[in-house]
């Protein structure tokens, strides 16, 4: 570089000094504005979440009344029904219970978003939870002629975790497996030791021979309100929150959740549960 060029550069930099200062001040002002906007959006999001939690809770009360009234009719407490009336009343009960479950899912999601979910850890064997959840889904499996295999590696130690929340995760994953597997297919629940985790953990696999998920959607499905393919999803009910809730409950335990799947080749969802639940 020549002496002249060097001098020119210095003089340019001296001239732009005030410009840079003013630009920095303007950027700082914009940053401040953006921060305020973020804070406001967060506050609004918080209000929306609280509203969702309140409305879900309030929906439960009338829904419960609808179901109980329908059960009173079904049980013939107010007199015998004809077979067709009975069928119709059973439809009200089954639809009502489905709706109640979905409202419950929204409530769990809203509480999770507002960080209002806490762990109540107890000591239990994962196998018990797998068996409990599979028993709850027996009639659905039968209806779709799906076979279910439940097994656990021998000598698995118990975990200290929130049993109800782990059952919720397994329930959501099994529900999806049943929903997305055509009649005659296979579904399985398997518990084993998890290798390579930071903390000693067990791993649960929920697998199926269903429609599968393309690899580009593997992250998307754990996001809020996502159902991958609207055509494929159409016959499947749900809030689209099942996997988001599953991920949140697993992460509350400081575990991981992921999927292995290919379109048309079934899915295997895995999640880990540390042997001991994290202390707050």
């Amino acid at each position: 570089m020549s002496r002249f060029e060097s001098a020119t550069n210095i003089s340019t930099s001296r001239d732009t000094g005030p410009l840079v200062t003013s630009h920095t001040a303007s950027l700082e002002a914009r940053l401040k504005e953006a921060m305020l906007e973020i804070a406001e959006l967060r506050a609004r999001d918080g209000l929306k979440t609280q509203f969702l939690a309140n409305i879900s809770h309030d929906l439960r009360t009338p829904l419960t009344a609808v179901i109980t009234h329908a059960e009173i009719l079904r049980d013939g407490i107010l007199g015998d029904l004809t077979p067709r009336q009975l069928e119709s009343v059973r439809g009200i009960i089954s639809g009502g219970r489905q709706l109640l479950n979905q409202v419950g899912e929204i409530l769990t999601y809203a509480r999770g978003s507002a960080n209002q979910l806490t762990l109540v850890p107890t000591r239990f064997h994962l196998r018990e939870v797998l068996e409990q959840v599979s028993a709850l889904n027996e009639s659905l499996l039968k209806k779709k002629r799906l076979s279910l295999a439940v097994d656990a590696e021998s000598d698995l130690p118990p975990v200290i975790a929130d049993r109800e929340k782990i059952a919720h995760v397994v329930g959501n994953l099994l529900g999806n497996a049943i929903d997305f597997t055509p009649p005659g297919g296979r579904v399985w629940l398997h518990a084993a030791r998890a290798d390579g985790e930071e903390r000693p953990s067990l791993r649960v696999e929920v697998g199926d021979t269903g429609v599968g998920i393309a690899s580009e959607h593997h992250d998307l499905i754990f996001r809020e309100f996502a159902q991958v393919d609207s055509t494929a999803s159409r016959p499947h009910h749900g809030t689209g929150l099942g996997l988001t809730i599953a991920r949140r409950l697993v992460e509350l335990h400081q575990g991981r959740i992921w999927v292995e799947s290919e379109l048309g080749a079934g899915s295997r969802f895995h999640f880990t549960v540390p042997l001991e639940a994290p202390v707050d």
Partner: protein, 105 residues
């Protein structure tokens, strides 16, 4: 919900009183203490569990909590407050009738 439960229990031959608030429940139970109280936790004038002790003092032997919250925290809170049992709504009608019979026997 109270309407449905009243219908169910009256059809099974029980005498039923309903109260829509803590204040009304206290009035009814002090005048004529029930043998069994089914208690909702969320009441317009406060926490339903605050009724457990006054109900016991008034002479009600069994207080059972009815709640929409299916979690261990709520269950523990109800049992600690003195409830004999905790039922999650909607309680299947046959189960409620069978349990009511057992509590009152």
């Amino acid at each position: 919900m109270t309407g449905a439960l009243r219908l169910l229990l009256e059809s099974a031959g029980y005498y039923v009183s309903t109260a829509a608030s803590i204040t009304i429940a206290l009035d009814i139970s002090s005048a004529d203490p029930p043998a069994l109280a089914l208690l909702d936790l969320t009441l317009p004038d406060g926490d339903g569990l605050s009724l457990v002790e006054p109900l016991h003092v008034a002479g009600c032997k069994t207080v059972v909590a009815l709640t929409g919250h299916d979690d261990d925290d709520t269950r523990q809170r109800c049992l600690t407050a003195g409830c004999a049992d905790v039922l999650v709504k909607p309680v299947p009608t046959r189960e409620l009738l069978a349990r009511t019979k057992a509590w009152l026997d």
